[in-house]
Amino acid sequence: MTNLFVIISCGVLLRTWLLQLKDLTKWISKRPEVSTPQTSWSRLVEGFVISKQTGNVHSGDSYHGSTLLSAFLFHLQALSPLLVPAVFIACDVIAAISLHNFAKKFLQKELDDQNSHKSKLSKGVDSILLKLHHLENVPTLVALIYLFNPFTIVTCISQSSVAFNNLFLALYVAHLMSGSSIATTLFLALSTYETFYPVQLIIVAMLCQHKYQKEGNRNAAKPLFCFIFWLLILFLVSYLREGSLESIFSHYKFILTVPDQTPNIGIFWYFFTEIFNHFQTFFLFVFQINALFFFVPLSIKLRSHPICLMFILTCIISTFKSYPCVGDATLWISMLPLWSHTFKYQRQPLIVTVMLLTTTILCPVMWHMWIVAHSANANFYFAASLAYTTSHIFIMTNTVMAYLKWHYHIRKGVRLNLDGSTEKAVLRLMN
């Protein structure tokens, strides 16, 4: 607990120090990797001012986030300009605490699961089992990584609304294990209301309800109804505020039809700048299905591991959504230590980690070469962001595969021969 307190206070101090460097915050909030048309703070301010004239916060085609968030943040700003950075720091802190709590609960459950199935485990697998020291270290590590991840810090000081998205998703995962489907679905509904893609995570809530709750409470449809209820409440409140549903429709239309092709670290913009108009609808469907469809096969495969499903769905959302930024990635990167006991079965972890670091640094360099120095072009930047996306994909597939392999190996043994026996095979070289 004291560890957590120390980490949180260090994180808060770091953020307050960085926030008062005005040049840095101004520069960072302009970077395409950090702020997208959906999340940018300056766009939010502009949208709110426009909404005073026309009543619809999306009517200027500038702000593309949700109406309630813009109203909340702008009223905070009106109360006091210092409140807004404080709220963003609070978002980070609460998210870190939620993730810490979630990690503790999850690992406890996994340990209990493991201990209850001790009879099914093979001999000699002790080295790879989940242990108590995991339970002690991993939650602190999760909070540490979340708070001190440069992606999170950058999102916080640029006042990008991804911080709220991360907060809601962190609270959602924290409540997944607790069984209160009302709380879980409230935060999931808030996250879906802001960006459309987390709607896939309702499957996770239903599977968790099925797996982690007591016998009497196992109504898998309960999260679904609660989710729809909360979503309707949110739509109702925004309808009351604005007088029409036009704003909500335009918000979702922006996410789904991707009209804005300003460069970001995603995969949409480059493709849609160059395709012919008559293919646009087709490829729009293809790209959105790519982002929205994976939950079907994954939930079938990972139905007994809902948290792993949640992890990989979060990765897929943050990588394949229409306007991603680095703040989207920070949530699942901080969840990686949860599977530290399976890292033995990851393939080329060093290469993939270094790839992520390199591409993170390469993207701004390519941007500078393209936009400022005029010595590169869009292909350079897109290649760097494509490599960044690929590193994400490698990390998420590695992690999930390692997890599944771990589950296999603890039943079948650490060393395996081709025929399944655990005897050693010796190769003798002919002279």
């Binding site: 607990m1 309630l68 709590n101 709380a183 409230l186 935060f187 409440i233 409140v237 009351l240 604005e242």
Partner: protein, 380 residues
């Protein structure tokens, strides 16, 4: 009774005298110069030669262009086609200037020249398209010959020619039958009232021998079998800078002022054989009016006939199918000093939010906060 008849007779006599005076004046005027029906003047000036050593052809065309402009035809009604650029040619020791005389007194290029077809755009096809008006729809006005049936057109061509043909750009030729057919197309589409065709090339007369459309006059600088020769070299520039016929034509035109009463017959006396070395040829059999009664300014200038009248003419409102044309509305003049004054005149189409909106959003906010705080308490 007698007094009345006497005054009536005197009055009638005076009136008849007055009337005869007026009639005599009109007849005098019209007797001397046969009036032309045209209301506007156009010119198509074509130089078909390229390369530095054909400097003189460019100078020919530009000199006629300058004269025609001076005499009143506006640039919008002149199509100038120059097959090469001498003014900015790297071999031109007088960059940006083209001279037609070795005294280099007049720069016929100048800063207000408007070349409509330049360089490789001067082709037989473009020339015929310009004459007949069969141009692609996106052709700009400056490249169109927008003549009507009351336009007098001057067509001046210069370059290298032979018997029955004129060379364009060293690559193609226009035949005299093609030219005659183009003019016939113009006549059939009522694209000219009268047309003066001047050509300064070798064996120039062959080019108008096949004309068959009405209201055409042709002037050529040499007969068949003769060569039109150049006039003189400018040693500072290094090439022949003007042709003989055009040199003398310009000498003649320099003395012509807008509104001059010089006739076409005087124009046809320009450059006799001893001056031109070649014999100029003329074709007037297709022209209805006699040459000594046709003014040069019918073709070279843009003279408007003005009728003075003391009558008062009242303009009535135009009757349209929807009734009378609407009266002019004069809106009150307002001046704005900044954008927001202007913007505030726009109607604000904002819908009033529901009265419960703020309370509903506050309630929602409280719910969310309570959940967050509850979860935090649960965590610790």
């Amino acid at each position: 009774m007698r007094k009345n008849t006497f005054t009536l007779l005197v009055g009638l006599l005076l009136i008849s005298l007055y009337k005869t005076n007026a009639v005599n004046l009109d007849e005098k005027v019209t007797d001397h110069f046969s009036g032309s029906r045209h209301t506007n003047n156009w010119a198509v000036l074509v130089c078909t030669s390229r390369f530095w050593f054909n400097y003189r052809h460019i100078a020919n065309a530009l000199s006629v262009y300058r004269s025609v402009k001076r005499l009143g035809i506006p640039d919008s009604q002149i199509i100038l086609m120059l097959a090469d650029d001498m003014a900015c040619n790297p071999r031109n020791p007088r960059p940006g200037k083209v001279y037609n005389n070795k005294n280099e007194a007049i720069d016929v290029y100048g800063s207000d020249v408007e070349v409509d077809y330049r360089g490789y755009e001067v082709t037989v096809e473009n020339f015929i398209r310009v004459l007949t008006g069969r141009l692609p729809p996106d052709t700009p006005r400056s490249k169109r010959l927008n003549t009507d049936d009351r336009s007098n057109v001057l067509v001046y061509m210069t370059g290298h020619g032979g018997e029955d043909f004129l060379k364009f750009q060293d690559a193609e030729e226009i035949a005299n039958v093609e030219l005659a057919d183009a003019f016939e197309q113009m006549w059939q589409r009522r694209r000219y009232n009268e047309l003066l065709f001047i050509i300064d090339t070798c064996q120039a007369v062959s080019m108008f021998q096949r004309f068959y459309s009405p209201n055409l006059v042709g002037i050529a600088s040499s007969q068949i079998g003769e060569d039109s020769l150049s006039h003189h070299v400018d040693p500072a520039i290094g090439v022949y800078i003007i042709d003989r016929y055009t040199y003398h034509l310009l000498e003649f035109l320099e003395k012509v002022k807008p509104g001059s009463s010089k006739t076409m017959q005087q124009l046809m006396k320009v450059c006799p054989r001893h001056q031109c070395i070649s014999t100029p040829g003329y074709s007037t059999h297709l022209f209805p009016r006699p040459m000594n009664q046709t003014l040069i300014s019918d073709f070279f200038g843009s003279v408007r006939t003005v009728d003075l009248s003391d009558d008062v003419i009242k303009f009535k409102p135009r009757k349209t199918s929807q009734g009378d044309s609407p009266p002019l509305k004069t809106s009150p003049k307002r001046s704005y000093f900044s954008v927001d004054q202007f913007v505030s005149t726009f109607p604000i189409i904002k819908k009033d939010p529901h009265p419960m909106a703020s309370s509903a959003s506050l309630v929602l906010l409280l719910i969310i906060f309570s959940f967050i705080i509850r979860s935090l308490c649960d965590f610790e």
